[in-house]
Subunit: 255 residues, 2 copies
């Protein structure tokens, strides 16, 4: 197993840092190869701008999608983006670890997706028959992904009727709209609540939960998101009437 | 009306840039005062780190929440954060405008929230009676917010059963988990689809839709998110059984 561990926390001496160390050590004990993108340590640039695209950007109006696709195909993407593409090509499994900030990713990780998932690579890719590869198909199909979160909120508040919203609903733009969009199979997330105030006993439980999830990375069933191009959606990419009839919301996109 | 217009697009010559210009001009014609935070033009720093917190950070383990609260109360937050606090204090209405990237905010805007919405200011604030001000109460209560989006996706794909998820569900972490969390009343978003390929006629329609939304900023009903502390949630902050009985998901948090 080739695992890429993407880590977005400013403080290695944190609960997140301890879990990262625990996780990487566990994977190596299990015989996996592990590579890391420690975004804070790398001083990852999170902001998409013309500098990402070499001469493909030119002096004209910057259209991010089209320009990123040109730069991708002409090999002019900046070196830091190319290095992440190389790691993704190598990996069969990717862990995305971050503290939940404002119910989403820290900006440094959002900017990893904004910059690395360029057009022609992670979106805007067509099958030879003309259909767009998206949601279950694409450059990253066949790879597995898992989100590992630390959160200050108590468990119940990110449960099905918790005030903050259920964690899979909060992660829908990432898990479905980004990872599944690009073709990855997404394993259920692991969330460690009570960050900044866990007891040694709670830490031991969290570390064991993480080890268990890492031992079963290749066998656990992914979230059964619907595939775009297998008939569940119509020509306008709207879910067909007979599926989850009369319902709307995020839940309808899971089979 | 004092309107703060927060804009996060790398290219002023874009659909987003044109709508921003249209919007600011319209507001001034309506007699509003307008201030702007053009995050790309400001070269806004999106990454939370110890430099944000002056001497409050020290050499010990950085605990972002606690340290940001210390720096907020001791006046040691960095000047760029303080400038945004001053604008927020001035504004009664805030527009958040961005292109939808991977079904969320560009990193530069996520990093505006990560850095500006510090503990003691936007979260972790208690009422004198001990309850935490959150979801409908807080530092920004009484202010209005509206999201203005440009999106490449066609309308139907971000509708109730569209493959990408319904736009209000995608925006839940921002509209509910961030803006409403901090107390702001959130108006329904305005989404302009088909970015990068709108015709002059489509642009005219989008501009008129925007002007109409700006004319009604102070009168339109906000999204009726539930208040945390008005009895709808129990002691664990879970929605009480008799409300939206038997249901889960994002929809239950709207009355």
């Amino acid at each position: 197993m080739n695992v890429l561990w993407i880590y977005a926390h400013p403080e290695p001496r944190s609960l997140g840092g301890a879990l990262r160390d625990e996780g990487v050590r566990t994977l190596r004990e299990l015989g996996a190869e592990v590579r890391e993108s420690d975004l804070y340590a790398m001083k990852w640039k999170p902001v998409v701008d013309a500098d990402d695209f070499g001469s493909a950007a030119g002096e004209e109006r910057l259209i991010v999608g089209a320009t990123s696709k040109d730069a991708y195909h002409s090999g002019e993407l900046s070196d830091d983006i190319l290095a992440e593409h190389e790691k993704l090509a190598w990996a069969d499994t990717v862990i995305f670890q971050f503290p939940l900030w404002w119910y989403g990713m820290p900006a440094i990780l959002k900017g990893w997706f904004d910059r690395v998932f360029v057009k022609g690579f992670a979106y805007g890719v067509r099958h030879p028959d003309g259909h767009t590869l998206r949601y279950g198909e694409g450059a990253l199909a066949g790879k597995r992904a898992m989100v590992l979160l630390t959160a200050g909120a108590p468990d119940a508040t990110i449960g099905p009727r918790g005030v903050n919203g259920e964690i899979n609903d909060l992660l829908f733009p990432l898990q479905h709209g980004t990872l599944w969009y690009a073709g990855m199979s997404v394993l259920p997330p692991l969330t460690v609540c009570g960050a900044d105030r866990v007891s040694p006993e709670q830490y031991a439980d969290a570390a064991e939960a993480l080890r268990e999830r890492l031992r079963t990375l290749s066998t656990r069933d992914p979230i059964p998101f619907r595939r775009q191009n297998d008939g569940d959606y119509d020509e306008d990419l709207v879910l067909r009437d007979h599926l989850a009839p009369g319902r709307g919301g995020i839940g309808v996109h899971t089979a």
